[in-house]
């Protein structure tokens, strides 16, 4: 079915507007990252004499290996997402597709975990991290990050899992699938939109986490990106190195955009079309 020209025009206008509002600050960040010195305090959207100095300087401080930090962040975030999705999917299967007593209570409890403010759990988490010997290792951040990504993934995936047609699961059961196989071969392919969405959201959440990363890692080599950015320093105490911070922000946001571009292809509609009638 075709769209009318008016509708098409409206659609593209809206898309443009949404894009503009979304990326305007980012564009601003890019231009700022090209500015240096006093020009930073000017409101002009385009740098008069743009330079890549800010970018270069990011990689030239030996004590703050920005590249290394990006790698740390990638590893940590990826691990967090993989773990969350794995644990989330299995739990969501139990919570969404099997009815047993105490399901509602369990879901509420899981949700309860993310009802404490981050600072409140900071101290306890700090002790735990040290007790587990994960202190001062970027990989050690994976565990505390699960405290906010897990409840989220479990809940979202449970909701989505619940909406898949029952008959599909039954067909798989009749085909002799174990629950794990049902999840893997039947549900996962149909959950792609949900997986990608939650995965991206969890990835970004882990990628951007600051407080834990700041507190649990003090080694310069083990830091993650947000801390790294926050530690980017100007020449003196009160000077905020805007140009460099913006350059770093641009650099760490670009991979995320790439990630979205790659994975958004999996957010497609009609995955269950043709499965059942009724």
């Amino acid at each position: 079915m075709r769209r009318s020209p008016a509708a098409t025009a409206a659609l593209y206008t809206l898309a443009l507007l949404v894009t503009l509002v979304s990326v305007f600050p980012f564009v601003y960040a890019i231009t700022t990252s090209l500015k240096t010195g006093s020009e930073l305090f000017s409101t002009s959207l385009w740098p008069e004499n743009g330079s890549l100095a800010n970018y270069v300087s990011l990689f030239t401080v030996a004590e703050q290996p920005f590249g290394r930090h990006v790698v740390n962040s990638v590893v940590v975030s990826t691990l967090v997402v993989v773990l969350s999705l794995f644990l989330g999917v299995t739990a969501a299967y139990a919570l969404g597709r099997i009815s047993f007593r105490g399901r509602g209570l369990l879901l509420t409890t899981i949700l309860g975990v993310s009802m404490f403010p981050q600072v409140a759990v900071l101290a306890g988490m700090f002790e735990m991290i040290r007790a587990l010997g994960l202190y001062n290792r970027s990989l050690g951040l994976v565990l505390p990050y699960l405290i906010f990504t897990l409840p989220f993934t479990v809940w979202v995936l449970t909701t989505f899992m619940r909406q898949l047609p029952k008959e599909l699961e039954e067909a798989a059961i009749m085909d002799g699938c174990s629950p794990w196989r049902i999840i893997k071969d039947v549900f996962l392919p149909l959950l792609w939109p949900a997986l990608v969405s939650t995965g991206l959201l969890a990835f970004i959440a882990a990628w951007n986490e600051f407080l834990f990363a700041l507190t649990f890692v003090i080694d310069n080599n083990e830091r993650t990106v947000p801390v790294s950015i926050s530690l980017i320093s100007g020449a003196s105490k009160y000077e905020i190195p805007w140009g460099k911070i913006m350059a770093a922000s641009v650099l760490v946001t670009l991979p995320l955009i790439g990630l979205v571009l790659v994975f958004q292809k999996k957010i497609v509609s009609g995955l269950t079309a043709g499965a059942v009638k009724g």
Partner: protein
């Protein structure tokens, strides 16, 4: 071993809902082909799904091959099922859909390939093997669902209206293939749900006719369990009599005049009709119902009691015609009661027209008789088994 035993199976979907299945007790022998029929919503799918293990059994025992399976997971019951709603894996091609069950089972690649190919040939799906379900027509989807079950060659087949979306030719052909499969595998039992009486009659070793509605709660779900000929010729009650056969049996209210061991005489709309049944358990004067199938009504000059009727309207089907008739009650009898239309089936092209009067003949050995509670009197003529 794939004998299936239902022992007083009950099913209730919710605590506040009435029983959906009530006291179902029946046995499907190994290698038998059993057809479930019954009105829409009577619980055929439910019963099937209980055999598959997809639905909890509220009470009663279900055993397959002598082993109680109430609590056995579906995978361990050795059954394959065609779902009424197809339940195809939407992200797999037709080929993958059919191969999946075998793959899970760990079958050899070549074997899978070959089995899928064969099933696809039978079901005329070969050109569609690489399509996703969403690009298939309704009938094609249904065929994929069938294919998925038959490649698995299980001990027990469960088919839930597997041919409802196929055209006549393909339906006959697939039906024959299923019969052949059943025959070839031999030891496999089949339970088959259908609304098509021809299918039921031709395929079944045994038919289970299930009740729907109020009476399930009082009289149980199973209205009759027997061979097709049993159900056609010896319906145990009015419900079965009316349900089996299309167009359905004509039922006329009557009053018993004489009740003998070999026959009864009934006053139907003022005409005395003789029926070949053992009516000893009833007494003259009782209200009864007389049943006769449209294809057994004779018209014009023939022996038997003559019932005057008038043609209301008629349908021509090509090879036969269907006449819908108003019985013309004799003035004396209960004319107040609105009588149902009667149906008469005539071979070939009917020459009658609406409004025309006719005389219907009812042969004693073609008539059925039911008591006031709807229970049949045993027929005394010799009937095919």
């Amino acid at each position: 071993m794939s004998r299936i035993d239902f022992q007083q199976i009950n099913k209730r979907y919710g605590p506040s809902l009435p029983l959906t299945i009530h006291d179902a007790t029946l046995t499907i022998g190994q290698g038998e082909f059993c057809v479930f029929v019954g009105p829409s919503g009577c619980g055929k799918s439910t019963l099937l799904r209980m055999v598959a293990g997809l639905e909890d059994i509220t009470s009663g025992d279900l055993s397959i091959g002598g082993k109680r399976v109430n609590d056995l997971p579906p995978a361990e019951r050795g059954v394959a099922m065609v779902f009424q709603s197809y339940a195809l894996y939407p992200h797999m091609t037709v080929r993958e859909n059919m191969a999946f069950g075998l793959k899970v089972f760990g079958a050899d690649k070549a074997v899978i390939e070959q089995k899928v190919k064969k099933a696809a040939d039978i079901l005329q799906l070969t050109p569609l093997l690489d399509r996703l379900p969403k690009a298939l027509s309704g009938g094609q989807r249904q065929r994929v669902a069938i294919g998925r079950a038959i490649v698995k060659e299980p001990d027990v087949f469960l088919f839930d209206e597997p041919l409802s979306n196929l055209d006549a030719a393909l339906r006959v052909q697939t039906r024959l293939e299923i019969a052949k499969l059943h025959h070839d595998i031999g030891r496999a039992s089949m339970i088959y749900v259908t609304h098509d009486q021809v299918e039921a009659m031709t395929l079944a070793d045994k038919i289970v006719l299930l009740r729907a509605g109020e009476k399930v709660q009082t009289e149980g779900s199973v209205a009759q369990f027997g061979t097709p000929m049993d159900l056609y010729h010896r319906p145990q009650n009015l419900f079965v009599a009316e349900f089996i056969g299309s167009p359905k049996m004509n039922i006329l209210p009557g009053r018993l005049i004489a009740a003998e061991a070999t026959h009864a005489v009934v006053d139907v709309l003022g005409v005395a009709v003789t029926v070949a049944v053992d009516a000893r358990r009833a007494k003259a004067g009782e209200a009864v119902s007389l049943g006769i199938r449209p294809e057994h009504l004779l018209h014009g000059e023939a022996e038997g009691a003559a019932l005057p009727v008038r043609v209301r309207h008629l349908e021509r089907l090509g090879e036969s015609s269907m006449l819908y008739l108003d019985p013309q009650a004799a003035a004396a009898s209960s004319a107040a009661v609105a009588l149902p239309l009667m149906t008469l089936r005539i071979e070939g092209h009917a020459s009658q027209g609406a409004g025309q009067s006719m005389q219907l003949r009812l042969r004693p050995e073609q008539c059925h008789l039911f008591d006031a509670a709807g229970q049949a009197f045993a027929r005394t003529v010799e009937l095919p088994a």
